[in-house]
Amino acid sequence: MKCQQPYLRFGKLLGLSFVIYYLLFSVSACSSIDCPVENTVATNYAIMGADGEAATLADTLYIWTRRADGQDTLLNRLTGKDSFSLPISYAHPEDTLIFYITDSYHQETLDTVFLKKEDIPHFESVDCAAHFFHHLTAVRSTHYGIDSITIANSHVNYDQSKTHLNIYFKKRY
């Protein structure tokens, strides 16, 4: 029996292996689009009592801002909760939020909260929508119904398990 030339056999092997290799990488080339499913970027506020412990909101809270379309409501009739979440603007250096609180005796207070931040463009892939993360640098407010607001966690990103701001309301009787 006549043997094949070694070069010829090796050439065949190269060809065969290239076909296998091509098939393998054709499969692996079908890449998936891997954008994060949980892609909400928002600020989480925890409501605190005067004693520094978590508290439940007894009054009714409305939060407004000024938007380009003239509408203004961010949060409507919040009550009986110990936390809430608010959107954060993509690229304003400072968000201005109006907190309106009313109680069962129709006592009303109106406060303005100024939230200063750095906006960081966040990129996942060319297949994923553009988002911004934020670094909270300062927060201040008027003090009619709000006692104080403090930054608990300055980095605002996809992690919605964190509390970013603690808000202390004045004690009402």
């Binding site: 050439g11 393998l24 990488f25 499913v37 380009a68 603007s89 304003h92 892939s125």
Partner: protein
Amino acid sequence: MTKARHTSTSILRSAISLQLRRVLRVVLLILAYHLSLTTSPAQGFLKWQVDSVPLFRGVAIGFDMAGAAQRLLSDYGQYEVMARVNLHDQYFPTVEVGYGEAQHEDDIITGITYHTKAPYFRIGADVNLLKNKHTGNRVFAGLRYGFTSYKVNISRQPFPDPVWLWDTSFGVKDESCNQHWAEVLFGIEAKVAGPLHLGWSARYRRRIAHNDGITEKTWYVPGYGTQESTRLGYTFNIIIDI
């Protein structure tokens, strides 16, 4: 619900990756078995072949056709040359130098434009796994260390903030990034005619360290591929002994 979807996607991806690795292992075993039949049984795989062949057997240079084809046919790819030293047809210290670029314009869904271009290098060595090392053909395994320092430009046409509705610009310009990575590779190469060789390699790449700048992630990394902690890569080389 969204957590469950994310988890199921991750499980599916892990299962596909595991399956792919199993297929690759079977292919390697078949190739190794085939080669053991087609080559001389007198020598061991990794054993130094004791004979009169000198240690220094020359230098070869090569060009990667797969990376160039990828660049011509898609939004990213690389042009790469390699140089290697042949030590006794068994060990092949190798340097690979390339220029990778990506140019993705105004994505049809997201509107994102991504540009980068930068040189990269890899350094490492291959070992010839054939029992008879001196046939001119080789089946090889190797290791590489790779590095690139690159700048990315990412931009998007202004778009409205989803809540405040004011137009927002998004992007970074000349953001400096870098990446170190390692590769384990397996390949096969045949002597075609005279000094000309053809060969391919399949590569498992793993990121060692990376700095992706302010955006925390990038997309195409020159010489590595699109951004993941691990990647499968490939080359198809035309090699000439000089």
